[in-house]
């Protein structure tokens, strides 16, 4: 019982204790120095990152918790997104949430701990607990502006849809447990293969289980047709939380999907398994997500809603890499999420700062930004162009890899859909840039972000450009992390 390698759990334990510490600090300092909580949250995340570099590799609790390359890769994304969400929160923290700052930062850290657990889970119970630890703080955070009707509505919608989807996911997981007699994903794979080999078929229970798990995780990922909640929640929630939702919680969903399907149910991703092939179902959902997300984004007037639909479309692109279910596929998913982290967090950070200054999320109010704040207009253009996938930015390399993986796996039709829809997406991303640079209206607003927000923006821009031009190191790492699935 005690002869286990506890050290791999140190980053999570540290971050958890640090979150408790922030709660305590909030009680202690009252409101003398409002920024200390935010800085200590950022410091805690940085230290967690360092600890993660030291203590990794190994398994704990008989394989329930494993710290492999895939987990570490995604943990870096989670820590990065939490870091950026905290960094972009300083302005709202000094104004709108003055009395609950400790809870705000503490809950972000709790949610990050949940994501980290989720990415390490190789077993259904741990996976479920990690997923709930991720989402329950996010329900609270979405409704954090207690007197703002939009925020409360967002919290309610997120809660109902989130709990509904986790119930569906759980039903699917319980069926998987019933069919295989185990909750360990690798044992599950072996048991299913044994049953399949000896009887030549597997009953409809597995189809039901797979559909329910896809639906459950699809809700978390906001895959079409499970996306209805996303625009409302994204619009109503505090903007840094929206950013965290759209990157951190999505990456968590992606890693859960990869663990269950690409690791556990990989045997059922081929044409031979006709009715049991989850690949084709997910491919259809991905195509629907790309088409619907991009087309609905065209008519949005609110930047947060537009980014919400754009993120629905983006998850469609990620799923192209996922259905490829190959080493390149998983690596491209990882790389895509890594670039998406920078681009989306950056875009939402600009939206946060802008909203804080003007109180408006309308795209039209960005007109003339290039004249008053040329640097931020340039930043925003870089983020949006990266999301659209324009070379030489990171988004291009990411899309290229995902499409290559899709073609390699024989999903040519899906890649064609993806290519066509990314042309459509260019229109609405470019529309914002046009508004910022070529609008006839007189600019009135000048934005001055706080130091941490500036830092976040700078990191994002450097990340996008650097990893766009030199995708090598991240890609190698992503390929390394994809090896754990043993294709």
């Amino acid at each position: 019982m005690t002869d286990q390698n506890w050290s791999i759990l140190i980053p999570e334990i540290f971050l958890f204790i640090w979150a408790l510490f922030i709660f305590g600090l909030d009680l202690g300092i009252k409101r003398k120095n409002p920024k200390i909580l935010g800085y200590s949250a950022m410091a805690g995340l940085t230290i967690t990152g360092i600890l993660l570099a030291i203590f990794n590799g190994g398994i704990l609790f008989k394989g329930m918790f494993q710290s492999d390359q895939l987990a570490i890769f995604f943990k870096v994304i989670f820590i990065g997104s939490a870091f950026m969400a905290v960094g972009s929160s300083f302005d709202i923290a000094s104004e709108k949430i003055r009395h609950h700052r400790g809870e705000y930062y503490g809950l972000i850290l709790f949610s990050t701990v949940g994501m980290m657990f989720l990415s390490s889970a190789s077993e259904l119970i741990t996976l479920y607990i990690g997923m709930e630890l991720t989402t329950i703080p996010l329900y609270v955070l979405a409704a954090f502006y207690k007197d703002d009707k939009l925020s409360v509505e967002a919290g309610l919608k997120y809660l109902i849809v989130g709990a509904f989807s986790s119930a569906i996911l759980l039903y699917g997981l319980s069926l998987l447990y019933g069919l295989t007699g185990t909750t360990d994903i690798v044992t599950m794979k072996i048991n299913l293969s044994l049953v399949f080999l000896s009887y030549g078929k597997i009953g409809p229970g597995l189809i039901l289980a797979m559909i329910m798990v896809i639906a459950g995780i699809g809700f978390k990922l906001a895959l079409v047709p499970f996306h209805m909640w996303a625009p409302d929640v994204y619009q109503g929630a505090p903007t840094p939380i929206t950013a965290f939702l759209s990157v951190g919680s999505k990456a968590a969903g992606v890693v859960a999907f990869a663990r269950i399907f690409v690791n556990g149910l990989i045997a059922f991703a081929s044409d031979v398994m006709k009715p049991l092939d989850w690949g084709i179902i997910v491919a259809i959902l991905a195509a629907a997500a790309m088409i619907l997300g991009n087309i609905t984004a065209l008519r949005q007037r609110n930047i947060k809603r537009m980014l919400a639909y754009s993120s629905i479309a983006q998850i469609g692109y990620v799923m192209v890499g996922m259905v490829a279910a190959s080493e390149l596929g998983i690596a491209s998913v990882g790389y895509y999420m890594f670039i998406y982290l920078f681009a989306n967090m950056g875009a939402f950070t600009i939206a946060t700062i802008f909203n804080d200054k003007t109180g408006s999320d309308g795209i039209i109010s960005y007109s003339g930004l290039s004249k008053t704040s040329p640097i931020f207009a340039a930043y925003m253009s870089i983020f949006l162009l990266s999301l659209a996938g324009i070379p030489p930015l990171g988004g291009f390399a990411a899309k290229y890899l995902v499409f290559a993986a899709g073609i390699q796996a024989g999903y040519t039709w899906l890649v064609i859909v993806a290519l066509l829809t990314s042309v459509v997406s260019l229109y609405y991303y470019a529309n914002i840039i046009k508004t910022m640079y070529f609008s006839a209206e007189e600019p009135t607003i000048k934005i001055h972000p706080s130091f941490p927000a500036n830092l976040v923006l700078l990191i994002s821009v450097i990340g996008i450009i650097l990893f766009g031009i030199f995708p090598g190191p991240i890609l190698d790492w992503a390929l390394e992390s994809a090896k754990i699935f043993a294709f």
């Binding site: 019982m1 005690t2 408790l20 709660f23 305590g24 009680l27």
Partner: protein, 117 residues
């Protein structure tokens, strides 16, 4: 099945005793209803308003805190059952668990949630 038969007999006897006492009381007591007697009983005072009032929603917050701590106690049961085999290791884990819960209670307390404002 025999153990369950005992439960069933116990149930019937229990119901029977209650019904029997009611019946007995009805035989013995005088029947003399009047208005004051038929009123709702509220600490010897005439009742004010309906019994179906909305409770103050401060109770609600206490209830929320209670629900969390109440349900977390579920983890104590399997732990207590297997305590003999688990030993010190599990004791320390459970202490950590309870300390975390207590921290939550402490936080709520310090934030003034438990105060009746």
């Amino acid at each position: 099945m025999n153990e369950y038969a005992a439960v069933l007999i116990f149930l019937f006897v229990g119901i029977g005793v209650v019904l029997f006492t009611f019946f007995l009381a009805r035989l013995v007591r005088p029947s003399n209803p009047y208005k004051a007697k038929n009123q709702n009983y509220e600490c010897a005072e005439p009742p004010i308003g309906s019994g179906w009032i909305q409770f103050n929603n401060r109770f609600y917050i206490f209830a929320l805190i209670f629900v969390v701590f109440d349900v977390e106690a579920i983890f104590l049961f399997p732990w207590a059952v297997a305590f003999g085999q688990l030993g010190l290791y599990a004791l320390i884990e459970m202490i950590i668990f309870i300390v975390i819960l207590l921290f939550g209670l402490f936080y709520a307390w310090k934030k003034g949630v438990l105060k009746w404002v």
